[in-house]
Amino acid sequence: MIRLYGKVEQSVMDEKILQEAVEEQGPKEEAGQISKEEGISFNAVLQLRLEYKNILKIEHLWEFTSLTKLQLNNNLIQKIEGLANLTNIKWLDLSFNNIEKIEGLETLTKLEDLTFYNNKISCIENMDTLNNLTFFAIGNNCLGQLDNVIYLRRFKNLHTLNLAGNPLAQEANYKLFIAAYLSDLAYLDSRLLNGETKKQAFAKYQYAIEEIRHNELQTLKATEAEQKRQEELQQHQEAFVENLNGSELFDSMFAQDPEAQKLNQLPGVADLVQTFKPQLVGLCIQMFESGFAEQKLREAEVKAFLEVLQEAVREKQQRSAQLVSDFEKHRKKRILDLKQVEDAAKEEAQVNQYMTEIKTLCDSCLLLELQLVDQLEEIIKDFERNITDMVGSFIETVQGIFAQCRDLENHLHEEIKDIAMATLEKVAKNEVEDNLPDDVRALFVDKETVMNAVGASHDSHMLRIDNREDKLVTRINAWMMNLIKKIQDEEVWRNRKCISEIQYFIQHLRNQLEEVLHQE
């Protein structure tokens, strides 16, 4: 009645509406009855239809996490909201509503089919994450800018598009423009885009398209290069020798050292530093290479260990499974026998025998598990010892190389000190060249200042080396501890799970037996 007068009764999406919809659209007949008795949980519902309900606001949908199809068409919805939890959704219908802006779809990455037909949307936007989109209908909206369609180029799987009824569809070159920019599109406004149209379109917009393609290719290449660099760094970090395959350590030593820059101005120092650099870089690269070689060894070690571990577990699992399946074969017969026996004494005997059998099964399964635990404990210990040795020897090597770095630095320091002393004397005798900058000259007021500057520079360099060394050693130790802990934890977890499984099964068998006896 109200509709007739142009007023619409707005309804709220509450639990009742949802419950009704779910029950109405759920299983039918006998299954429906059963499910009604039991109650339907929202998180198991796969499809939901909520059309012609005059809904104003999307609410209370957070519980429907496994939903794949949602129809909310022919309502009064104004804003897309409350859908963030429906991550499994593939089909979303929001046609015939009052939506003005596309939003709130960021988490729905599995979405393939999206319909906004007959809304008030004026811009295609905020859909960057919907990579699987194949069908997109946004006809009868307020889209005015033809260039806005270029946004859809990012959807590689898109093959059907509906734009009819928008202002932009009135434009003369509408069809060719879209055919040109969305060259993989198969259907536009429910019509096939044939090869000829595409050819025409391409001829018309050739330059623009090629430019766009070129730009896209460039971006793609840049992202790929960045990714590759990241992967490489990741690899280096896994070997704990990141940034050691070049002059990075050297750069960090000298970059943040104002004193060094000043001292560099002294005659002879620059040459010294120049000879120092390749030596230090050489040591770094040596470390880098040994780090990689060691990482390979460690990986092989871990792999060999895990293989054996998994094989042992699998073997034991197979044996236990065999035991269980053998038992299962007889179980049915036993139960049948028990049901048929009438004599109490005989029944007692049979029950006892069955109980013993269960006990035996339990014991043998547990025995296998115990054996495995012993075996694994041993090889885990072996592995621990080996990996510790490997890490230890690597740390030793690295420390040796770092010691060489320090020696180099000490040597440099001594030489610089000598030059500084010589310069100081020259300054004292006023024999120094004029091209020395003032701030450097200011160092040479007395011996203490000079020595302080030289010492500070040296200390800062030493600190850098020490830091790098500490970082490496700490990280590798942490990695080792984590690895060992993980392996141990996993083993404990596996063991507990296995034992609980056996217990549960035995319990299950006993319950079953009791049930049988109870029935009689």
Binding site: E30, A31, S35, E501, I502, Y504
Partner: protein, 843 residues
């Protein structure tokens, strides 16, 4: 006589034996002497399968050229000297008789062995390699054993005759093989010498059948490739065994003893067996004469020298024990006598034929290596007489028809006896069922107890390739090649009746339902599948025992239970992926076992009791949760919803119906296959390639039709137009012409022709007139305007004149010809009309 001189010198050194040159007269005497021997009653003509007209042979077969005669003199001289120096050695096989002259002993022809070799390359690629060539020769000919076995034959027949008769001694066969090998480019020689009895008599009954030997080797290869285990750094210790070491030691001791005992017994049995199999001692050991082929390395990429036994076509290493000694060898150029000791077989022999201490040649001939050196010196020694060259072969070109090549065996089949086996071979298309090979193996040495009969087929329309019948179990195994209409790969059965035990293997991917194998045993049927979308790999059907001793109709057998097993589907969670489902038809329940999760040992199980169904299809009871029992697996997980279980049960019940249908379908399929097999077997058809024009009747018929059609179309073109048709039409096409009518038609026809001739004449005349008028007109014009004409116009006039004159000449010619022809044509037409069947009776 260079050779002779050399030989003489040598012999002088050897023992100073008196030398004696034979005169041609004496030679002739010798020939006569031989003649007498040959006509002796002991000599039987060779076992000829086809009558051969010897008189048709070329003259070279009947006569000796002067060169050949000279060669015979040389050979005879050599032979007599040889027998003089080596009286203990057997006479040389140098100049046997050829096949000609059996009927007229007066002109018996001796031929030197080397000239009997006719190097020929046959135009078949299948005979290019030595092994194929040798096995063909061995297959194609029948051996005539030497009689007596220690003497060389008196006669060596030509390869051409041998190919016709297909019967010959080992010498004949070797000559043919050697000729073919020489033609194919091998450095081949005929060898005469001594071999073991089995080889001389082609007795292979102590050898393993080559078909069986191959199989054993394959099996050995299969087992050897297994032992490969990488050494690992980590290894779990085996759990400690709680057993007494002493007891174990005792046990081992006992086992060792038992093993030793077993081994001893086996050895004993083996020894006995060997003794039993050993051939009886040969009184003629080392004296039995044989002839075979030697191939020297160097040509056709042959690396080592080897022998070929022409009777079996097999290659042997030089040191093979079967060859006991070499007397001599020859090729088409020369003859070499062995000077080496063969006391210990042929293993230590050298085959450097240029070395005169080892090989004495009949003709002086430089070997190829020396030839090059000689070339340089030739100019200096040019005055020396040229050494005697071996004359060219007297034998005609060896020819072999394609049919003979295809037929291979004499008469198209051969049967060979091997140790505990008999091999029968047939030419393809010889037998109506396509059988090409049958191998019968026996359990005992006397070949009485048949063990296995294996038959190989070719070109069968039903793609049957091999059939194996095991006598002990009476099981037949048939193997089919891909493309078989029934998709069968192998089929093993006792009888073709349905419902009996059988096993069918299908070609992978051939059946649309992925069926790979179907095994039937009494009361059971197991099907194995492959590459199915639903990942089903096995379906095992157990039939219920029928109450009255088995019903006759197998389609009606009630099912007891069906077990279906599935592979793991990676897309599903393990606890929801069905591993096995058992439909218990008899009990009315369904059991489902799911796949094991990664580190669990007990799979999730569900067992459903089906709600009872009334006969009219209505459910007798509604579903209760108690109808499902099972093991849940994870104690922490919520039990499944009842709807879920109910839906699963409904789906399973649908599946159950489908499975029952499937089984019915399988049963019908089996029956159909068996019926088809029976039909195919009772009336085997052979597949004939459309390119095989000789056998393919359809193609032949088609070709004949084509030719006929072509001829007919040509005939039709030639057929003349009915001349009388328009005149008969004028009379209203009467069926039978009256005399008057006939007369009229004839006259009309002739008149018509006359008219046409006159017309033609008139046309020609008109053209003539027109041209002459035009010419005259032009001439007049020229005469009038001659003075004020330009040069161009004048030229044009002249050109026109000459052209017109030419035209007029042509027209004149045609007119005269027309006049000449007209009466002839008239006569011809008249003749033709008179002969016309419609007019003839009235004229």
């Amino acid at each position: 006589m260079e050779t002779l001189l050399e030989l003489e010198e040598k012999e002088d050194e050897g023992g100073g034996i008196e030398q004696k040159e034979l005169s041609p007269q004496e030679l002739l005497d010798g020939e006569k002497a031989v003649n007498i021997n040959i006509t002796s009653p002991g000599d039987t003509p060779f076992g000829r399968t086809k009558p051969v007209n010897l008189s048709e042979c070329p003259s070279a077969y009947h006569h000796n050229s002067p060169q050949e005669k000279q060669l015979l003199v040389i050979a005879d001289n050599f032979s007599s000297q040889y027998s003089h120096i080596f009286p203990s050695r057997k006479p040389l096989f140098l100049c046997p008789l050829n096949e000609c002259g059996v009927k007229s002993p007066v002109c018996l022809i001796q031929k030197f062995v080397s000239t009997t070799l006719r190097s020929t390359m046959l135009p078949y690629s299948g005979l290019y390699d030595w092994d194929n060539c040798a096995s063909f020769v061995a297959d194609h000919l029948v051996l005539q054993a030497l009689d007596p076995p220690i003497e060389p034959p008196r006669r060596l027949i030509s390869p051409t005759l041998l190919l016709e008769t297909q019967t010959g001694t080992c010498f004949d066969v070797s000559t043919l093989l050697c000729s073919l090998l020489l033609g194919a480019g091998y450095d081949a020689y005929c060898v005469t010498g001594y071999a073991v009895r089995e080889m001389c008599l082609l007795d292979q009954s102590r050898q393993e059948c080559p078909l069986l030997v191959g199989e054993v080797e394959v099996q050995v290869e299969g087992t050897s490739a297994e032992d490969e285990r990488q050494v690992r750094k980590y290894a779990v210790k085996p759990p400690r065994e709680l057993r007494s070491n002493f007891e174990r030691a005792q046990q081992e001791l006992k086992e060792q003893e038992a093993r030793a005992e077993l081994l001893r017994r086996q050895q004993e049995a083996q020894r006995l067996q060997e003794e039993l199999e050993r051939s009886p001692p040969d009184p003629l050991q080392g004296q039995m004469l044989h002839c075979w082929v030697l191939v020297l390395a160097g040509k056709r990429e042959i690396r080592d020298h080897f022998f070929i036994d022409p009777l079996t076509g097999k290659g042997y290493a030089l040191g093979d024990e079967s060859f006991l000694g070499v007397e001599a060898l020859w090729n088409q150029h020369n003859y070499w006598v062995n000077m080496q000791d063969c006391g210990r077989g042929c293993s230590d022999m050298e085959y450097n034929l240029g070395d005169t201490t080892m090989w004495e040649s009949v003709l002086f001939r430089i070997t190829e290596k020396e030839e090059e050196e000689e070339l340089e010196e030739e100019e200096v020694w040019s005055e020396e007489p040229k050494p005697f060259e071996m004359p060219r072969s007297w034998v005609d070109t060896i020819a072999l028809s394609k049919q003979d090549l295809e037929r291979r065996w004499p008469g198209g089949s051969r049967s060979t006896q091997y140790r505990k086996a008999k091999l029968e071979q047939f030419t393809p298309y010889l037998l109506p069922d396509g059988l090409v090979t049958r191998l019968t193996t026996y359990t005992d040495l006397e070949c009485e107890e048949v063990d296995v009969v294996r038959e190989w087929y070719q070109n069968r329309l039903d793609h049957l390739e091999e059939r194996e019948l095991q006598r002990a179990t009476n099981v037949t195994i048939e193997r089919f090649s891909p493309g078989c209409k029934l998709k069968l790969k192998t089929h093993s059965y006792v009888s073709l009746a349905p419902g009996t035990e059988r096993r069918m293997d299908f070609h992978s991917g051939a059946c649309p339902d992925g069926l790979l194998r179907r095994v039937e045993t009494p009361g059971q049927m197991e099907e194995t599948f492959d590459h199915r979308d639903d990942l089903l790999y096995s379906r095992h059907v157990f039939y219920a025992r029928s109450p009255e001793g088995g019903s006759q109709e197998p389609g009606g057998r009630p099912l007891e239970r069906v077990v279906e097993r599935f592979h793991r589907d990676a897309a599903k969670a393990a606890r929801e992926d069905v591993a096995e489902r058992v439909f218990l038809f008899a009990e009315g329940s369904i059991e489902v076992t799911f796949h094991l999760e990664d580190d669990r040992i007990i799979p999730v199980r569900r067992s459903f009791v089906k709600p009872r169904v009334l006969p009219d299809g209505q459910r007798a009871e509604s579903w209760r949760p108690g109808m499902v029992t099972g093991y849940q697996g994870d104690p922490h997980e919520d039990p499944p919803k009842n709807v879920y279980l109910y839906e699963m049960l409904t789906a399973l019940m649908d599946e159950e119906e489908k499975v029952a249908l499937q089984i019915k379908h399988s049963e019908t399929e089996v029956r159909e296959i068996l019926a088809t097999r029976e039909r195919e077997e009772s009336n085997p058809e052979l597949r004939i390639s459309i390119y095989d024009t000789a056998r393919n009747e359809k193609v032949q018929r088609y070709r004949e039709d084509m030719i006929r059609a072509q001829e007919e179309s040509q005939k039709q073109v030639k057929k003349e137009i009915d001349l009388l048709a328009p005149f008969l039409a004028r009379l209203g096409d009467p069926e039978v012409l009256s005399s008057q009518q006939a007369q009229k038609v004839l006259e009309d026809c002739l008149a018509n022709q006359r008219m046409r001739m006159i017309e033609q004449d008139q046309i020609l005349q008109a053209r003539y007139d027109k041209e002459t008028q035009a010419l005259q007109h032009e001439q007049k014009r020229y005469q009038i305007n001659q003075l004020n004409m330009s040069k161009e116009e004048e030229e044009r006039y002249h050109a026109y004149c000459s052209e017109t004159v030419f035209k007029i000449g042509v027209i004149k010619q045609r007119q005269s010809r027309h006049k000449e022809i007209t009466p002839q044509k008239h006569l011809a037409l008249k003749e033709k009309l008179i002969r016309d069947p419609r007019l003839a009776p009235h004229l």
